[in-house]
């Protein structure tokens, strides 16, 4: 199917699945929710799946022979299979449930990084890393004596891949890069980065927090060694994230958290570990959330991830073009023609991003203001903060018009 054949989303139908979109805020103005990069809204189908779990088969998993525990265990395990299939992993052994992307990153940093890194080793990141990866690797490097290098960005917010080629050396043990930047919208050449890492026997960790919700992702095609994302940014519940890891790598890693469920045999003297992925899922896991994530994947696949991607690109282009009508608006990141994810970060003249977010809030528009957990990137851009509008399957061009009108009024107010 060529991209032209992809049918646009039936947004009116989709909006009916999200009751929250009918609410008003402030002085009874309709909500325009454009903060999906922070967290997306949850469709009824996902809420219903969680309600069915609590009403029908709530029980602890892997611990009981009774029927409810069996039903809960099967649902929980099958959610791993569903995720594996969704991102092109080989099976549930490669899918570890965590609390979010951040915890997935920390799991690898602790279980692999603390054990394997030492003085002389290098971890290569990008200048556009989210704090989830930047702070984590920075601190693990401090503790192990490893050093951190950053692949720079060019004026369009694209990675300088020539510099990357020089930065990744035989001393590099890990290349950790964001797939879609949550600030610039840049879509990084992650499989190229993974190849580069592998040429030097390093691992590649891809942060897919903004990618998995908005486009088809196949970890096998990318050849990522680790890949992470969060349920709450993809129409799923809060409290669940995913760490994908290649089986042989996860197999060789020591556990991150100890306790129940992750063990095989325990004596007073020693313990042995359960199979993958349970070895990395200590204690009672996030069962309801796993059921919810499973339902969110069903929901997104019903729409079709190619169509989600087209929709995101269309809205991002529209927002980019509308905002470009103002000559005092600075937009960060690549132009739509270079490819960009479904978000736009910008600043308006001398209006502080937080003032802007407060003013557009009076128009019902929810956008993000701040550093979006990319402080060093904002330093590189030379600004303290930016405003960010980020889109999802239920957003429309008309909503972007509301944002643009509100921004125009803010400009006049501050003129």
């Amino acid at each position: 199917m060529s991209t032209q054949d992809i049918e646009p989303l039936d947004i009116e139908r989709i909006r009916e699945d999200f009751p929250i979109l009918e609410r008003t805020v402030g002085d009874d103005v309709p909500l325009v929710y454009l903060d999906n990069g922070a967290t997306s809204q949850t469709p009824e189908q996902v809420v219903d799946a969680i309600v069915d779990y609590y009403h029908g088969y709530n029980a602890n998993v892997h611990r009981g022979v009774h029927q409810l525990s069996q039903e809960a265990s099967i649902a929980y395990e099958e959610a791993h299979d569903r995720v594996a299939e969704f991102i092109g992993a080989d099976g549930r052994e490669e899918i570890v449930f965590t609390k979010n992307t951040t915890e997935a990153m920390n799991l690898v940093a602790y279980a692999w990084g603390l054990a394997e890194l030492g003085p002389g080793d290098e971890v290569v990141l990008t200048e556009m890393e989210h704090h989830a990866s930047l702070v984590t690797w920075q601190q693990v490097a401090k503790r192990t004596g490893a050093t951190v290098e950053y692949i720079p960005i060019d004026g369009d917010g694209q990675l300088d891949m020539d510099a990357a080629g020089d930065l990744v050396t035989d001393d590099t043990k890990m290349v950790s890069a964001v797939h879609v930047s949550n600030t610039l919208g840049t879509v990084n050449p992650v499989s190229e980065l993974a190849d580069l890492a592998h040429e030097h026997d390093a691992y590649a960790f891809i942060d897919g927090a903004q990618a998995v919700p908005t486009r088809p992702v196949d970890v096998g095609d990318i050849d990522a060694d680790f890949y992470a994302f969060s349920g709450h940014k993809m129409a799923g519940p809060t409290g669940i994230g995913v760490l994908y890891g290649k089986e042989h790598i996860l197999e060789a890693m020591q556990p991150y958290l100890y306790g129940g469920d992750m063990i095989r045999k325990v004596t007073f003297e020693d313990s042995t570990w359960n199979d993958l992925p349970w070895k990395f899922e200590a204690g009672t896991p996030l069962i309801a959330q796993a059921v919810g994530l499973d339902a969110a994947i069903d929901y997104l696949e019903d729409i079709g991830m190619e169509r989600v991607q087209r929709h995101e690109e269309r809205l991002s282009r529209y927002a980019y073009e509308r905002l470009s009508e103002f000559d005092d608006v600075e937009i960060y990141g690549p132009s739509p023609d270079q490819g960009r994810g479904g978000l736009v970060a910008f600043n308006v003249g001398s209006v502080h991003a937080h003032d802007l977010a407060s003013i557009v809030n009076d128009y019902g528009v929810a956008i993000r203001a701040g550093d979006h957990c990319t402080q060093p990137l904002h330093d590189t851009l030379g600004v303290a903060a930016s405003a960010r509008a980020s889109f999802y399957v239920y957003n429309t061009e008309a909503e972007i018009d509301v944002l643009v009108d509100a921004i125009d009024d803010a400009r006049e107010l501050f003129a």
Binding site: D27, H354, D362, H372
Partner: protein, 144 residues
């Protein structure tokens, strides 16, 4: 003008665009700096006391940040003149919000009170009751 923008009434915008007492006091009795991590606001306040070492003769500020924090600092610098340090110590966030004369949304209260906190901490340090490099509005939940 659109539906709301209650927080950005003329007075606030006027103080933001034309801040009063902006600058330094060369022979300040004390000077202190503070920041609000949420908006990246930073404010330094200089205070000059009368000979009684109690009454504020004048205050000046300089800084950078959102309109709420900068307008509040401008208005607060006017408010300080003639107050005693004890009166300053007794002020609280409601006084600042009354001074601003608009409803400040809960997420933005920290911007509004930054100048007041900086002046109060500065006075406490001057009186030897506090030891602090830099004032900061309390920890924010991290950005996503």
């Amino acid at each position: 003008m659109g539906p709301g923008s209650d927080m950005y009434r003329q007075q606030i915008l006027d103080h933001y665009k034309n801040p009063r007492n902006y600058g330094e006091i060369e022979d300040a009795t004390f000077s202190h700096v503070g920041e609000n991590p949420m908006c990246g606001d930073e404010i330094r306040i200089d205070v000059k006391l009368e000979d009684d070492e109690e009454t504020i003769a004048g205050a000046a500020f300089r800084g950078d940040g959102c309109a709420i924090s900068q307008a509040a600092a401008s208005m607060f610098s006017q408010e300080l003149r003639g107050k005693t340090l004890d009166e300053l110590a007794e002020m609280d966030r409601d006084d600042v919000i009354d001074m601003l004369g608009v409803d400040i949304s809960p997420m933005r209260v920290k911007c509004a009170v930054l100048a007041e906190k900086v002046a109060q901490d500065g006075a406490d340090i001057y009186r030897g009751e506090l030891d602090l490099e830099k004032t900061t509005t309390e920890e924010d939940s991290e950005d996503e």
